[in-house]
Symmetry: C2
Subunit: 357 residues, 2 copies
C-alpha cells in the first residue's frame, strides 16, 4: 500500500472546485424561457441547474451512467448487530455478478452500468473481470473493542475507491451513483454519524436489514461503546474512518471525492452511502454541492445525516435495502431533469403566449 500517500489524497482534494456559477445562471435563465410557468417543474428545475453547475455547462447531459457498488465485511458483526450472517456479503456479491439483485434489476431498467468492487469482503473470490479487486483486508476489526482498521488502511480504502472512479471517468462518465453491500455496515455508518453529529447510539441506530428490538438496543450500545473505546476525532475524517468505519465506506468516500474532482455529479443512496458522503464533506466541504440525495431511507438516522449535509432527498419510498437501489432511481430523475432543460421548446420557438404577453 506504499502508493497510497497523504500527498495523493491532498492532490485529489485540491482538484475539487466550486460549482460553475455562470453555467448555473444560464441554466436558470433557460428554464424560465421554456413553455411552462416558471418553477412549475419544481425540483426537476433545481436539479437541472445544480447539474449545470457541477458539469460546468449550461445544458448538462447524462449519457454515461455508472453505479459503483462497493462491498466489505465488518468485525462488529460478532456483537450480534445484524439479522444476517457475514457469509451473506460474498453470497450477495455473487448474486450481483449474476444479475439477480435488486440493484441489477433497477440498473438494467435505468440503463446504468454497475461497477462492482471488493473493498474488503471476508472471502477470497475467484478472479472475475466483473469484480474489481481493491480488497484492503478481509473485513474490518470489531469496532466495539478497537479500531476498525489502521490509518494507512483507511487511506488505502479512500484512494483505491477514487481510482475506480478515475478509471470510469477515462471511459466517459456523466453521473455517478453510490451503492454498497456489507452485512453489518449500518453499525459503522451509524457510528460515523454519531461522531460527526454528536448524537448517541440510540439516536442513530436503526433496524438495518431487520434486527428485532433486542438487536436494536444492542446495536445502540455497541455504537456508544465503539465511540468510547476509540475516541474518534470528528474533524479528522481519516481518524473517524479508521476507528469506526468500513472498507466499502472508505471506498465510497474516495469515489465521491474523485467524482467531484472531475465535475461529475454523485447520486448518493441511503444510510451507508450517506455516511461515506459525510466523510467526504468532512475532508472537503465543497463536495456537498456535488451530491444529489436520491431518497430518504427508512433507516433511522438517515434524516439526521441528510440534515447535517443540508441536502434534501428526491424520493421517499420507504426503501431501506441499500445496494444503491435508491440511487439508481435518483439517476433517472436527474436524467429527466437534464432532458427537460435540453429538449423542451421555448415560448418563442413554440409560439406560445407567455404570462406577461
Amino acid at each position: 500500500m506504499m502508493e497510497y500517500t497523504m500527498e495523493k489524497l491532498d492532490e485529489l482534494v485540491g482538484q475539487i472546485k466550486p460549482l460553475d456559477q455562470d453555467a448555473m445562471t444560464a441554466a436558470r435563465e433557460r428554464q424560465n424561457t421554456l413553455t411552462k410557468p416558471p418553477g412549475s417543474l419544481g425540483r426537476l428545475e433545481e436539479l437541472s441547474i445544480q447539474l449545470a453547475g457541477i458539469q460546468r455547462k449550461p445544458i448538462p447531459e447524462i449519457e454515461h451512467k455508472v453505479i459503483v457498488v462497493m462491498a466489505g465485511d465488518h468485525g462488529v458483526v460478532a456483537e450480534g448487530v445484524s439479522a444476517y450472517p457475514s457469509e451473506v456479503t460474498p453470497q450477495m456479491v455473487s448474486n450481483m455478478l449474476h444479475g439477480g439483485a435488486a440493484v441489477n434489476v433497477l440498473s438494467r431498467y435505468v440503463e446504468v452500468r454497475i461497477k462492482l468492487v471488493d473493498m474488503g469482503v471476508d472471502y477470497n473470490f475467484e478472479p472475475n473481470p466483473e469484480l474489481e479487486d481493491k480488497k484492503v483486508a478481509r473485513g474490518t476489526q470489531n469496532i466495539a473493542v478497537g479500531a476498525a482498521m489502521t490509518r494507512e488502511q483507511a487511506l488505502a480504502a479512500i484512494l483505491s475507491g477514487a481510482e475506480v472512479v478515475e478509471a470510469e471517468y477515462a471511459e466517459g462518465l456523466d453521473i455517478l451513483a453510490t451503492g454498497e453491500m456489507g452485512i453489518g455496515n449500518t453499525t459503522p455508518s451509524a457510528a460515523i454519524c454519531a461522531v460527526l453529529t454528536g448524537k448517541t447510539g440510540a439516536e442513530v441506530a436503526g433496524r438495518g436489514t431487520g434486527v428485532d428490538d433486542a438487536g436494536l438496543a444492542r446495536k445502540a450500545e455497541v455504537i456508544d461503546r465503539a465511540l468510547e473505546v476509540n475516541q474518534p476525532e470528528p474533524k479528522d475524517a481519516l481518524d473517524v474512518l479508521s476507528k469506526v468505519g468500513g472498507y466499502e465506506i472508505g471506498g465510497l468516500t474516495g469515489a465521491i471525492l474523485a467524482a467531484a474532482a472531475h465535475g461529475c455529479p454523485v447520486v448518493i443512496d441511503g444510510f451507508i452511502s450517506t455516511a461515506a458522503a459525510m466523510l467526504a464533506v468532512t475532508l472537503v466541504p465543497q463536495v456537498g454541492d456535488y451530491l444529489i440525495a436520491a431518497h430518504h431511507s427508512q433507516e433511522q438516522g438517515h434524516a439526521i445525516m441528510l440534515d447535517w449535509l443540508e441536502i434534501k432527498p428526491l424520493l421517499s419510498l420507504d426503501m431501506h435495502l441499500g445496494e444503491g437501489t435508491g440511487a439508481v432511481l435518483g439517476i433517472s430523475l436527474a436524467e429527466a431533469a437534464c432532458r427537460i432543460l435540453k429538449e423542451m421548446a421555448t415560448f418563442a420557438e413554440a409560439g406560445v403566449s407567455d404570462k406577461d404577453a
Copy 2:
C-alpha cells in the same frame, strides 16, 4: 350525441371488478422470496402487489404505456382566475403536437406514448391524425354564473373519454396515465373538490399556473359562487361534472373508468387529473383500487383530494405543471416495481442464506 346514453355508462361501470386477491397473494409471497430483507423495497413492493391485483396476474407486466392528454377550455377564465389567456390552450396543444412540451420530453424518456385528445378546446384545429377529435363543445360556460355544460354533454365527455381508452386497449395497453391541458382548469377542479369534500373555495383554491394574491382570492370567491349558483349534488357525479366541471375533466373520468373496466392500472397526475378521479370514484368506489397517485402537486387542495381518495402519492417534487408530467414519472416507478418482482433472484436461486437460515 345520441349514442352517449346512460345505458352505456351503466354498462361501463358494471364491468369494473374488485382486484384479484389471488394474484396479490401470489405477488406478496414472491416478494418475500426475493434476495432482500422482506419489505426493504418499501412502496415498490406494495406497488407491485397492487399492480398484480389490477392486472389479475401474479407477475404484472408493463410494456404498452400510454398517457392520454385531454384538452379543454373554460368559460370561467372570464372571471380572471388564470395567469394565462385561453389562447394558450390551443397553443400548448400545438406545442404538444410538435413534441416541445414537458410531457413530450418526459414521455420520450420513459417511453410512454402520448394520446392527445381535444375534448373541448375553444379553437377549431385542422384535422390531424395525432390529435383525436372528441370535442363536445368549444369550451365550457362560466361556472360562476351557471352550469358548465348540460347533463348530456357531461355524459358525452365521460363516454367519449372512455372510447379513447377502449381504442388504446384494443392495441395493447398495460398502464394508463392521465394528463391534461386547459387554461383555467384548476378552478373547476377545485370546485369539484369543494363539492365532494364539503370544503370552501379558500380551502381548495391554489395558485394554478401562477396567479398572484388578488387572483387567488378571486378564485376562491369564484369557486364559492359557482357552488352557490349551481348547487351541485355531491352524490351525483354527472351533476357535479355538468355544473362545475370541464370537458377534459369529464374525458379523464371516462378514461379512468374504461381503464379500470379493462383491468388496467391508472397513474393519475396532479390536481386536475385527481379531480377527474374523484368523479370516477363517486360513480364507482371500486375504481379507487385501480389508481396510483404519481405525485403530490404543489397546488393547494391536492392533499385534500388525495386524502379523500385515500391514496398516497409516490413522488413529492414540488411540481405543479399538469399535462401529465408527474404521471409519466409515476409510470417509471410502476415499471421499476414490476421488474423487481419479475427479474430479481430468489434466495433459493441465488444460493443466498436467508435471515432464518
